[in-house]
Structure formats: C-alpha cells, structure tokens
C-alpha cells in the first residue's frame, strides 16, 4: 500500500486531503510544518509528499534545502500545493521531482494527481 505524507499547517485542509486519500486506500501520515515533515519523511519513507509552501517553523524552501541534502529521501516525488501568493513562477522550490498545483484543489483532482505518481496496490 502506497504511503503519502501531507505537510501543511492548515489542519482543516490536512483533514480533507487525508480523508479523501484514505478512502481511496492510501496510507496517510501528516506533519504540521517542514521540520516535522522532514522527520516524518525519514521515519515513514513515504512514496509521495504533498507539501504546502508557506508554513510556520520551517517553510517549503527550507524544507527543500534539507530534503535535497538527505539522499535517503531526496528521490521521493513532491507535489507542491500552492495558493496564489506562493506562486512557483516567482521562486521555484528546487525539488528533483516536483509538480505544482494551486489551491483549492477538488478531491477528484487530488486523486488524479496522486494516481499519476502512485499505483494503488
């Protein structure tokens, strides 16, 4: 079963995404900021990370720095969920595999996106 890590400080958004993905049979782990996200990524070794860019404690950019340095996790694909303010066109987050999706995202679009990277088992 594929494992997805959601890193976002908005608990309601996390709740919606988690519920949608779990119903589809994905295993979901969550983190409230970049620091927790890194720890979870190392511990859980997820197959995909859904990342918010603007977060407290450690934002998406700082997360990317640490993430890219750690070769045990740096190959994990990242979906960057951005609201308009953190538009990736201004300052791209330098992940190896990355896709930008702007918020809000409808449940079925989220699933389409996730399925692109993961095959349900």
């Amino acid at each position: 079963m594929s494992k997805i890590l959601i890193v976002d400080d908005d608990i309601d958004l996390v709740a919606v995404e988690k519920a949608v993905l779990q119903r589809e049979g994905y295993k979901v782990v969550t983190a409230g900021n970049g620091e927790e996200g890194l720890a979870q990524a190392r511990k859980e070794k997820p197959d995909l990370i859904i990342l918010d860019i603007v977060m407290p404690v450690m934002d998406g950019y700082l997360f990317a720095d640490q993430f890219n340095k750690d070769k045990t996790i740096s190959k994990i694909p990242v979906v960057a969920l951005t609201s308009y303010v953190e538009s990736p066109l201004d300052q791209p987050v330098p992940f190896e595999v990355v896709e930008y999706v702007s918020k809000p995202i409808k449940p079925k679009d989220l699933l389409l996106l996730v399925n692109k990277y993961l095959k349900k088992t």
């Binding site: 908005d10 995404e17 949608v20």
Partner: protein
C-alpha cells in the same frame, strides 16, 4: 555663514586672486621685453651712453624668477583649500616686494633718479592695491617711496656710484638737491594717490562681491531646504505606499488561506465523501461554493497589485515574441466567442516583434481585454490586432459591443470602477491591473469608444516600447 560680516581682509574668490597673480606673470614677460627694447633703443637709437650689461643680467634674473612664479601659480591652481588664499596673498606681497627691489637695482644701473622710468613704481603700488589688503598696499607704497628715496640719496651723497646717462640729461643733475627732492615728492604724491584711489575702488568691489556671495549662499541654502523638505515628503509617501502594499499582501493572503480550507471542506461534502448528498443540499452547498469562488477570484486579483507594485514583475521579464504571447492568451477564447455567434479575428504580423516583458502578465492583459470584449458584445465581431508603429508596438482589441459611455472613459482603469451600462461581473480590478502591468512595461493603455474606425463598440489599445529600436 549667513551672518558673516564683510571683513577688511576679505578676498572675493580664490579664482580672482589666481587670475590676478597670473596677470603679474604675464606682465613680467612683457616687462623683460620692454626693458631690453628701451635699453637698446636708448643706447643705439638715441645714442645715450651707458653700460647695458647689468641691464641684461637683471633681465636674465627676472626671467628666471618669473619662470619660478609661473610654475608656482600652476601648482596653486590645483589646490583648492582655504589656506591657499592666505598663501596666494603672501605670494603676491613677496612678488611686489621683489619687483620693487629689482626695479630699484635696475634704476641704479640706468641713471638712478635721472631715469624717467623711476615713475614705474606707481605701476607696482597700483598692482599691490588691487591684489592685497589696504594695509599691505600702503605698506608696499611706503617701501616703494623709501627705496626710491634711498637710491636717490645714496647716489647723491656718493655712498654708491651713479651711472650717468651721457647724452640724455646734464650729468650733474643727480647732485642737484632740488631736482632730487622734486622727483621723490612727485613720486610719493603719485604713488600714494594711486594707492588711495585703487584701494578704495578695489575695496568697494570686494564689498559688492561679498554681498553677492552672501546672497548667493542664502538663496542656495533656501533652495536646498525646500528641496530637502520636498524629497523628505516624497520619501515619506513612497514608504507609506510600500507599507500599504505590503499590508495588502499580508491581508489578502490571510483572507485566502481560510477560504481555501472552507472550499475544500465544501468540495469534500459535495463530492459525496461524507455520505450521500441529496439534490437540495447540493444546491445550497453549490451556492456557497460559487460565492467563495468569486471571493477567491477577487483575492487573486487583489494580490496582483502588490506583486506588480513591489517589482516582482520585473524579475519575470525576458525577451519575448509578442505573436506567441497573443496566441497563448487567446487559447480557448475563440471557442467562447464562436459559441456566442461572434466572428473572431486575429491579425498578427508575419515577423513577430521582439520585446522585453513578462509573458505571463502580458497574456493576462490580452486575455482580460478579449474576455471583456466577448462578454460585452452580443453580435458582430471581435478583432485582435498587433502591429509596429514607430518606436512602439501596438496591440488592439476591437469589438462591436455595447461600447463605453463617454463619462466612464476617464475612470475606466481605476480600481473597482465599473461602467455605468454593465452588470457587475468579475472583481472590478481587471483593467486597473492591466494598467499596472502595461505601466511596468513602459507602455500605455487606453480605450476609445465608439471605435473611431467603425463607429461601433469600443477599442482597447496598449503599447509596448519596441526593443529593436533601442
């Protein structure tokens, strides 16, 4: 500085002083030529017999001394400190003193008191009066008269020899006390009178000069103060604007985040993840969802303002093919227009103009203008034209729609301004954002209604500076 009293020793400007010292040097070159000329013509033209050797020796000394002064003045020109004025004045004093000495020696070898050139002392004292302070001028005048008198009386009493100008005047003239006294007194009267007149005139000139300087300083200072207060005001307004725009950025972002969450929650329910939704529930939820979509659109537009104003647009600028930008902007809009039964025409030049700009932002402008044209046109056609004209590139979006009432035209590009003949649609920020985007590209945007070419609908035009002409 403004309360500076006119001082006795005030010298107008270093520049004037330097110019005068240079006049001294130039005069001296001529004087050497003059002395040689006079000596030779006295000797050979008028057959006055005296030894010319000492005259030439003195001329040689004068040349060497003048060369030194010439170089000294040049060095002085490169220095602009306060102390230079004092040094230049001291130099002027020493130069006059030396010139007086040289003249006295020259006179001694050319007939002493009987040489009519004895009155040349007046030139020296006049020069001193122009160049130096009153006190120094009188000092040098007294020295000049004293030197002349000393020369005359030393020769008269036989302490030093006397060179006779044989063939010019009676050879015993220098021993006639009446003659000696009359020459010395005439010389004294001439020099002191000249010094008196010259220092008075020079003093008056200096005073005027000083007043002018003070006035100029005062005016400059007033100008400067005014300029300072204006630039402080400009800075303050700029700061205020920047902080307002930052606030706008933060506020809109904070408004956006919860709306995104709300919209996601509603979608979750609407899409049936929280159990089956009956038709009536769906309707109500969709009503709410549409309003949130509208609000998110407004926030997106509001966020555009700080992004453009804070210069983020400039970072995106690159060399672009404008044809490509327009083609991208119109993707999907042709279908929208044809659905409404409108003709959709695009006229692009064969060779695309190259510009420096933000592709994303320019597309936003063209899309916005074309969208508006389609929205406000019931029948007829929509035409998008791109062409080069002089040093700019023009993009026109032309419709045959309802047009814009004349009273609305001037305020069309203001924030939240809506035409009086249209229903509210969109955020009301589209055109004001378009104005900011085009402004950031160094271009202009305006609307004409009715379109002067057809007398119908309206024409929106924007210009972008032509890169190739720069």
């Amino acid at each position: 500085m403004t309360n500076k009293e006119p001082v006795a020793g005030y010298m107008p400007e270093l520049k004037a002083l330097k110019a005068r010292l240079n006049v001294f040097v130039r005069m001296r070159w001529l004087v050497v030529l003059g002395i040689i000329g006079v000596a030779l013509s006295a000797r050979y033209l008028f057959n006055i017999s005296f030894s010319t050797l000492p005259v030439f020796i003195i001329c040689f000394f004068l040349l060497a001394y003048n060369l030194w002064m010439y170089l000294w003045n040049r060095r002085l020109s490169k220095d602009d400190t306060e102390i230079v004025i004092k040094r230049a004045q001291a130099s002027g004093y020493i130069q006059v003193l030396l010139d007086l000495g040289i003249l006295t020696v020259l006179l001694h070898f050319t007939g002493g008191i009987t040489n009519p050139f004895i009155f040349v002392y007046v030139i020296h004292t006049t020069a001193a009066s122009i160049l130096l302070t009153k006190r120094r001028a009188y000092e040098l005048t007294t020295i000049a008269v004293a030197m002349a008198a000393l020369l005359a009386f030393l020769e008269y009493s036989g302490v030093i020899g006397h060179v006779n100008l044989v063939g010019f005047l009676p050879v015993t003239l220098y021993r006639q006390l009446n003659f000696v006294w009359s020459v010395i007194i005439t010389l004294a009267v001439l020099t002191y009178t000249s010094t008196y007149i010259t220092t008075a005139v020079a003093g008056e000139l200096r005073l005027q000069h000083l007043k002018m300087d003070l006035l100029r300083d005062q005016l400059l200072k007033e100008d400067e103060l005014e300029l300072q207060s204006i630039s402080a005001e400009v800075t303050r307004l700029k700061d205020e604007r920047t902080s307002f725009i930052r606030l706008l950025n933060v506020v809109t972002h904070d408004l956006q985040a919860p709306l995104v969450a709300v919209q996601s929650c509603i979608s979750y329910v609407l899409d049936g993840y929280a159990g089956e939704v009956v038709e009536e529930q769906k309707d109500w939820l969709q009503r709410g969802s549409r309003r949130i979509d509208g609000l998110l659109l407004l926030i997106t537009d509001l966020l555009d303002i700080p992004r453009i104003e804070l210069g983020q647009l400039k970072q995106e600028m690159a060399e672009l093919s404008l044809n490509e930008v327009i083609a991208n902007s119109l993707a999907g809009l042709d279908i929208l227009a044809e659905k409404k039964g409108l003709k959709f025409l695009v006229e692009l030049p064969e060779k695309s103009p190259l510009i420096i700009g933000s592709s994303r932002r320019l597309q936003q402008v063209v899309t916005n203008l074309t969208n508006n044209a389609i929205n406000y046109t019931k029948e007829g056609e929509i035409k998008i034209r791109l062409f080069e004209k002089g040093d700019e590139i023009k993009v026109e979006v032309i419709d045959t729609g309802i047009g814009i009432p004349p009273k609305d035209l001037p305020r069309l590009f203001d924030e939240f301004y809506r035409g009086s003949n249209v229903e509210s649609k969109g955020s009301g920020l589209g055109l004001s954002i378009a104005r900011r985007i085009i402004g950031a590209h160094g271009g202009k945007i305006w609307a004409e209604s009715p379109n002067p070419e057809t007398g119908l609908g309206s024409k929106f035009v924007f210009t972008i500076p032509n890169k190739q002409n720069k």
